[in-house]
Symmetry: C2
Subunit: 154 residues, 2 copies
Amino acid sequence: MKLSTRGDYAVRALLELSTAEADNAIPLGELAERTRIPAKYLEQILMRLRTARVVRGKRGARGGYMLARDPHRVTVGEVIRAMEGPLAPSLCASQTAHTACPAYRCPSEDACVMRGLWAEVRDAIAGIVDHTTFGDLAARTREQQAAAREMYYI
Amino acid sequence: MKLSTRGDYAVRALLELSTAEADNAIPLGELAERTRIPAKYLEQILMRLRTARVVRGKRGARGGYMLARDPHRVTVGEVIRAMEGPLAPSLCASQTAHTACPAYRCPSEDACVMRGLWAEVRDAIAGIVDHTTFGDLAARTREQQAAAREMYYI
DNA sequence: ATAAAACCTACTAACTGGATAGGGATTATC
DNA sequence: GATAATCCCTATCCAGTTAGTAGGTTTTAT
């Protein structure tokens, strides 16, 4: 159930964008440097995120990338789905990309025991990632940093 | 977060073995036929499951495969891990195969916001699959079949 | 002895992940 | 209006994994 680097990179880059000031575009090069993600690879990821309407690009000099919305309105789940596809372990249990069950002995959608289990798992994952926004993550990051500073002063 | 066919096949084959009578070995060919999984591929999967001590093979004529334990003592989580690796979205949040966080800006294990989130997801998944056994699944299957028969008689 | 079966190793084709490369289009600034 | 910075887009490449096939060796019930 591991995330590919694509998903991991996307989340990390967005967290970086979320902690930046609103309406302040960060150029690819700087974002890549800050996150230590290969620039040209990050560019492709940002293209996907743009297609998903999660980020916006501003062209030309002084351009860069910024969140397309308020960080509190961008969920982690939406980003993971954009990068990795549906959350469900099996497409027969997916709400966003449902397909028929591949099992030979699947009695019917409603009666399929495996599908029931995969749907439980999907709901459990979605319950977390769809209710966590980049606004939340940015806030937690700030809290952590404040806590670290306090430690330092003692 | 999708399962590969390997994981899906493994679970389906084990469910088939779980509904069989105890101590009654099912030969590869029959298991493949019942589940409609390519026989030689299923064989490799069963080899892995044997290494994981989930199934046992009985050689020679009248041989076949059977569960190595009572179905109620084989969890879905254990099988998924054997086929797909750790459940956690990132290895930094894995309990079974922990490694350092790959993020450049990771402040520390305990303070890492991303790791916290991935750990939540891992716990949510594990909470389901580690508490669901093939005994449970077999029972649910029998219930469904009984319900289907009842429908038929009405 | 024979046939049925697990066991094991090697191979292959296709796909995916993780990049790298390079050119075209747009825009702020001088 | 030239220029430099920047996004935008497509192509290519390599390595590893997935999904499957093939064919042999060993064990065992009959």
